[in-house]
Symmetry: C2
Subunit: 406 residues, 2 copies
C-alpha cells in the first residue's frame, strides 16, 4: 500500500472553490492507486479568531482549555473536507488528533509528539481511500487535547508521514516553493528544486516562513521527503531531502537576510577572564538570546570592547540589564541599522574558498563586514542595512544562483 | 458529595457578561459546599452558523462528519467557560463528550445515550470543584463524535444528573419557567411552580419549547428533579418532578393551544368494516401523521362522514393521496381555520367532572366543539380559530389558574 501525505494550510482551504481544488488533487493520486492521508489546518483566519475569543477570558496559551478551544478550527476543516469528498463519491472520513491517536506530552499550547500508533489508521485504509486528519492537534496521556504550536500542522503532516512510512509528504501552501533568496529583494531569485534538511534549518528567513523548523527536524530524523509546493497551480515545488539523496550539490543553495537584530557594543571593558560570563549571564537569566559575538583582541590585556547582537525587540531590555549589572564599561553603543546576510549550502563542507569568495565580493562592493559567524553549512555577516540589497544581489550572482536550475 | 447539575442554553452563554453571570451562580453553589457539574450549549447562533457551513458541502445531518463539525460549538463554549472560571480562581476544567465518555448509539445527528460511566468524573471531582461539559455530544462505539439532535444539551444535562445521582438538574434558559398558558394569549397566565413529567410531556406547546421532550422522559425514568429557570434573574422557576413528589395536585395544571392542524372531512363514505383502514393506510405509507379522528355514526349503516386532523403543512399532500386512492366519497372538506385547545393535569386522573366542566365552559361561551380527544391526563378539543382566545381565557379562569400559586 503506497501512501501519500498531503498537507493543506489555511490559505489552501479557505473556501468551497479551494476545497474542490483539493478534491481534484486527491482524485489524481487515487487514480495512481495510492491511498491519500490529508492533513488540514484551520480555514483562513479561523485560528486567529479563536485565539481572540479565548483571550477575552484568559490570556494564557499554555493551557488545556486553550488547546480545546483552538483545536476546533482544524476539527471544522477536516469534517468539511471529508464531507465534501464523501458527497463526491470519494470514500473518505475525518480523523481528530485523539482518534488516531497523536500522542503528545502535556505541554499545552506547544506540545511535542511522543508516539503515533498506526494500527487504527492502517485498518481504516482498508475501508477508506482518503483519511482527512485535523492538523496541529494531539492528545496527552491525561486524555486532553493538546496543540503543537503555530504552524504545527506541518509537524503533524511529517510525523504521520514518518509513522505511516509514506512515500512523500506534500506541503501545499501559498508560495511555489523555497527560493534561493527573497524574491522581493533579489530579482533573479530562483525556486530551489532540491534542498537538504540541514540547509532549510539554517535558512531561517527563507525557509521557516514556509516550513515549520520542527517539522524539518522530524523529516530529517525519519528521512521523509517533503515537497513544498503551491496549492494554486500544478508546478513542481521544492523537495526537501537528505544530503545523500540530493543530487544537485550546489556550493551555495540559498542566501538569506534578516533585519531583526540590534548590535550592542560595550566599549572600554576589562579584558580579564570571566568578563564574558559577567556580561552574558544577566542577559541569559532575563531570557534574552544573544546571537553573534565578537570580542576585540587587546595587546596589553587592559581595556577592550565587546560586540554582540540581540533581537531588535529585546535591545532596550538588554541595555537596561547591562546598566544595572556590576560590569564596568566606558560606553555602550547601539546600532539598529544593521542586517545579517547569510549564505547557506551543504556544499561548503567539502569545498574551501566559499567564505573567501563571500568576503571578496563584499569588499569589491565596498561593504564593510562588522561581525562574522559561521557554522558548518552557513556563513553569516553583519553589515549596515543600507548595503543589504547590493550584498544580496552580488552574492546571489557570484555563487551562480542567478542561473539556477528549474 | 452533593452534586448539582446546571445547564446553560445558547442565549445564557452568548457573551462575556453572561459568562460572568454563570460564574457568579456557580460561586453561590460552591459556597454551599456543593460540587457543580455545568453543561453548556453552543454560544448564541454558533450552531446555526456551523450547520450553514456544513450544508455548503453536504446536505445531510445524519452523518458522522456533520456531528464532528457541529459539536465544535459546544467544545468552544465549554473551553471558554472553564478558562474563565480558572482565571477567576475557581478550580474548573472542561470535558468533551468523548472524554467522560457519554456513550451513544451510532445514529449520527440524533444519537441516543446508551451509557455514562461515572468513574472518571468522580475522580475529577476530587481535584476540581467545577466540571464544564460540552452538551449535545457523545461518542459512538466506533469512537466517533455523535450529536443528540437539536436541544440535545437538555438531554445531556438530565442524563449526567441521573448518572451522577445529582440532587437537582437546573436548566437555565431565556424564560422564567413553564406557564399555565401562553402569556401572549392569556394575560393572566401564571408561572407553574411544580409540574409532573407526564404533564410537561402532554403540554407540547407550553413545555417542549422550554424543555426537550427526550430530556423529560429521561428525567422521569431516573426520577431527576429538573428546575427550569431564567438565567437573567434569580427567581424560582418551574420544578419538574414525579407525581408522588408533586404536592400541588392541581386538577388542571396548564392549558395549551395549537394552530398547526388542518381538519379534513370526507363526506359520503361507505360505513363498512375496513373503511377506516382504507383511508388511513395510504396516509400512513406517505408518512402523514393523523392526530384526532371522529367518525359519525349512521343508523342504517349506509353513508357516513369521517373527520380527522393532520399537520397543516401536510394537508395538501394528504388530500392528494386520498383522491388518488380507491376510497369512494362524495365530497372532501378542508378547514384550516381551526385550533386545538388542550387542558392538562394529572389531577384529572382521580377527579370526575373535569371534561364536563370544559364542555360546559365552551358551551356557555357559544363555542362549538368539532372534535374531542382525550388521554389520561389531557383533554383536547378542536374549535374554530376565531374562538381560541375566548376559550383559552375562559378555561384558564374556570380551572382556577388565574389565581395560581407563585
Amino acid at each position: 500500500m503506497s501512501i501519500i501525505v498531503m498537507k493543506f494550510g489555511g490559505t489552501s482551504i479557505s473556501n468551497l472553490e479551494k476545497i474542490k481544488n483539493i478534491s481534484n488533487r486527491i482524485k489524481r493520486e487515487l487514480k495512481k492507486n495510492k491511498k491519500v492521508f490529508v492533513v488540514v489546518s484551520a480555514m483562513g483566519k479561523t485560528t486567529d479568531q479563536l485565539i481572540k475569543k479565548f483571550f477575552v477570558v484568559k490570556k494564557d496559551i499554555f493551557n488545556a482549555e486553550y488547546d480545546s478551544v483552538i483545536s476546533t478550527g482544524e476539527q471544522l476543516s477536516a469534517g468539511l473536507l471529508a464531507a465534501f469528498l464523501d458527497e463526491n463519491k470519494i470514500s473518505a472520513r475525518s480523523l481528530l488528533g485523539w482518534q488516531i491517536p497523536i500522542i503528545t506530552d502535556s505541554f499545552h499550547g506547544k506540545a511535542r509528539i511522543i508516539d503515533i500508533p498506526t494500527k487504527f489508521v492502517k485498518k481504516l485504509f482498508k475501508t477508506y481511500d482518503v483519511l482527512v486528519m485535523s492538523g496541529f492537534q494531539g492528545i496527552s496521556k491525561c486524555n486532553r487535547i493538546t496543540t503543537l504550536g503555530r504552524g504545527g500542522s506541518d509537524t503533524s503532516a511529517v510525523a504521520i508521514a514518518a509513522a505511516l512510512k509514506a512515500e512523500i509528504c506534500e506541503i501545499y501552501t501559498d508560495v511555489e516553493g523555497i527560493y534561493t533568496a527573497d524574491p522581493r529583494k533579489v530579482k533573479k531569485a530562483k525556486k530551489i528544486s532540491q534542498i537538504t534538511y540541514e540547509e532549510i534549518l539554517e535558512m531561517s528567513s527563507l525557509g521557516s516562513k514556509v516550513l515549520e523548523p520542527r517539522s524539518v527536524e522530524l523529516a530529517m530524523k525519519y528521512d521523509i521527503k517533503v515537497h513544498v509546493r503551491s496549492s494554486f497551480n500544478n508546478k513542481k515545488g521544492t523537495i526537501v531531502l537528505s544530503e545523500e539523496e540530493n543530487l544537485e550539490k550546489a556550493l551555495v543553495t540559498g542566501i538569506s537576510s534578516s533585519d531583526e537584530d540590534a548590535k550592542i557594543t560595550l566599549i572600554g571593558i576589562q579584558d580579564t577572564p570571566g568578563v564574558a560570563n559577567k556580561i552574558f549571564s544577566p542577559l541569559a537569566s532575563a531570557n534574552i538570546n544573544v546571537d553573534m559575538i565578537v570580542q576585540n583582541i587587546t595587546d596589553d590585556g587592559r581595556l577592550t570592547s565587546l560586540t554582540f547582537t540581540v533581537a531588535n525587540s529585546e535591545c532596550e531590555k538588554a541595555v537596561k540589564k547591562l546598566k544595572l549589572s556590576d560590569i564596568k564599561f566606558n560606553k555602550i553603543h547601539i546600532d539598529k541599522k544593521i542586517s545579517k546576510v547569510s549564505i547557506i549550502g551543504v556544499g561548503m563542507r567539502s569545498h574551501v574558498g566559499v567564505a573567501k569568495k563571500m568576503f571578496e565580493t563584499l569588499a569589491k562592493n565596498n561593504i564593510n563586514i562588522q561581525v562574522i559567524s559561521t557554522s558548518e553549512i552557513k556563513i553569516s555577516v553583519l553589515i549596515s542595512s543600507g548595503s543589504k540589497k547590493i550584498a544580496l544581489n552580488a552574492l546571489h550572482k557570484v555563487y551562480g544562483l542567478d542561473k539556477s536550475f528549474d
